[in-house]
Symmetry: C2
Subunit: 296 residues, 2 copies
Amino acid sequence: MINKLVIIGVGLIGGSFALALRKAGKVRHIVGVGRSRENLQHALRLGAIDEIASDLQSALKDAEVVFLAVPVGQARGVMIQMSSFLEPNTIVTDAGSTKQDVIEAARSCLARHLKNFVPGHPIAGAELSGASAADAELFRDKNLVLTPLDETRTEAVKQVTELWQACGARVTLMNAVRHDNILAAVSHLPHVLAFLLMNRVCSGAGDNPEDPLCPDDLLHFAGSGFRDFTRIAGSSPEMWRDICLANREALCEQIDAYQNELTALREMLARGEGEAVESVFANARETRRLWLKSKS
Amino acid sequence: MINKLVIIGVGLIGGSFALALRKAGKVRHIVGVGRSRENLQHALRLGAIDEIASDLQSALKDAEVVFLAVPVGQARGVMIQMSSFLEPNTIVTDAGSTKQDVIEAARSCLARHLKNFVPGHPIAGAELSGASAADAELFRDKNLVLTPLDETRTEAVKQVTELWQACGARVTLMNAVRHDNILAAVSHLPHVLAFLLMNRVCSGAGDNPEDPLCPDDLLHFAGSGFRDFTRIAGSSPEMWRDICLANREALCEQIDAYQNELTALREMLARGEGEAVESVFANARETRRLWLKSKS
C-alpha cells in the first residue's frame, strides 16, 4: 500500500493509473498536479485524485511514488522543477512513449535521483484525452514496458512493476534502445504513414492538371478501409510531433527501410510481376492472421 | 421489375446484390453461375438465387441483366465465354474494383455489345468472401460508381442506376480514368502501404545485427493502432494482386507522390523541424475530423 502517490499530468493515462490503483486498493492518498485547474477539478470529482496540489513543493513532500504522465516534450521541464523538492526515497516513474530521451532528461535534471527512477511506457490506446477519458480498466491486459537504468535500484523496479500489475498490465523489462526501436517499427512509423496519407488526400492527390482530383472527390469515395487505416491520424499532432522528434533516429531508419520496400514493390508492379506481388501480400496476410490468433 | 437476372460469381458482392434486389422486389428470377458448386448451393439455400445454371448458354438465354461479380483478373475470361451466347438486348454490368481494364476487356471480347455494357464499382467493404457472407444491406448508403462508355445507351445506364438505388446505394457517374485515379489514391495505395508494413514486421524490422528485432518481439508490442492500420492487410492477396496490376499506372503515380512526401517528412524529422512536422500532422487530423463529420 502506497501512502502518497503524486500524479503529474492527470489526463487519460495519469487519471486511468489513479483510478486503477484506487480500485485495486493499492494507494491511500493521491495528489494531482497539472496545468489545467478545470481538468484537475474534474479528476477530483471523478475520484481519481484526493487533492489538487497547491504547489509542487508541498505535493512532493513525503511522496512515496511520483508518476509523470505529461507529453514527452514536457518531461524535461517538469523534471527541472521537481529536482529541488524531490525527497531521496521517492520513486519516480513515467509514461512517455519514447524512453531514451526521457532517460537523457533524467540524467541531466535528476542526476542524484537515478537510483529511484524507473522509466516506463504503457502501450494503451490514447485517442481521447483529459481526466474525463480516464478508465480504471485502460491498462487491463495491455503491455507495459519498463526500461530501468543501470543505476536503478532493483527494489524500485519491483515496486513499480507491482503497481502496474495491480492495474492489470503485463510488465516487460528491456533496455531503452530496444524499446525505442520496436516502437518506431510498430507504432511511430504507422502513425507517420497514416498522417501522410490523410495529408496527401487533403491536398488533393491528383497530379493531372487537366483533371485534378480535389479533396472532396477523394474523400467522398474513401471507404471503411481508408477510415480504419487513417484512424491513428486522428491522434494529437503535438504529442506525435514530440514522439517523432524524440525518437527520430530510429524512426528515420524505419522510414528508410520502408521506402526501400515500397520502391521494390513499385518495381514489381511496373514490371507486372504478379507472383512476386501476391507473395508479399500473402505473407502479410498470413502474419496478421497468426498475430490476431496469438492475441485472442 | 426484371424477369431474369444472371449473377456470375455469387460471392459477397454478387450474393448481396441478389439479396438486396430480392428484398426490394425488383427481380423475379435469379440464376447463379460460378466455379464452386458448394458455394452456389449455399446461395440457393440462402435464397440469394433461384437456380444454379447448368451451363452458361442456358443461363444467358432471355436474361435481362447480367451482373459480373468475379475478381478483376477473371473478367476477361468470363467475357470471352459469354460472348457467343449473349443476347443483343441483355444489359451487362460488373462490380470490378478497377474500370479501365474491365472496359478494355469488354472492348475486345464484347465489341458488339458495348451499347448495353455499364461498368460499375460498388465501394463496400469486402474482407469476408463467399455467398455465406452476403448481406442485403451491404450497399445501403454506400457509394456506387458507374463509368459508362461513349457507346453505352442512356437507357442501359438508367436501368443499372435504378437497380443499385434499389439496393440503397448512392450512384455517381464518372469516366473510368478518373475512377481509377481516385481509387488508386484512397484505396489501392493504402492497401499497398498496409500490406508492406505487415510484411516488414513479419520479416523482423531490426537492422542492427547486434540486437535484431524478431517478428514476435515486434508483434508482441503492436497495439490497437497497428491493428486498425493493418486491417486491410487481411484482404485477399489474389484479389489485390489483380487490382494493383490492373491499375498499376495510376497506383505507381500515387506511390511516387507518396514517396516524395515521405522523403520530405523524413527530412523535417532529421533536421528537427518540429513546427513543420506538427503542421503536417495537424492538417491531417483536421481533414479527417471534417471528413468524419461530413459522413455522419
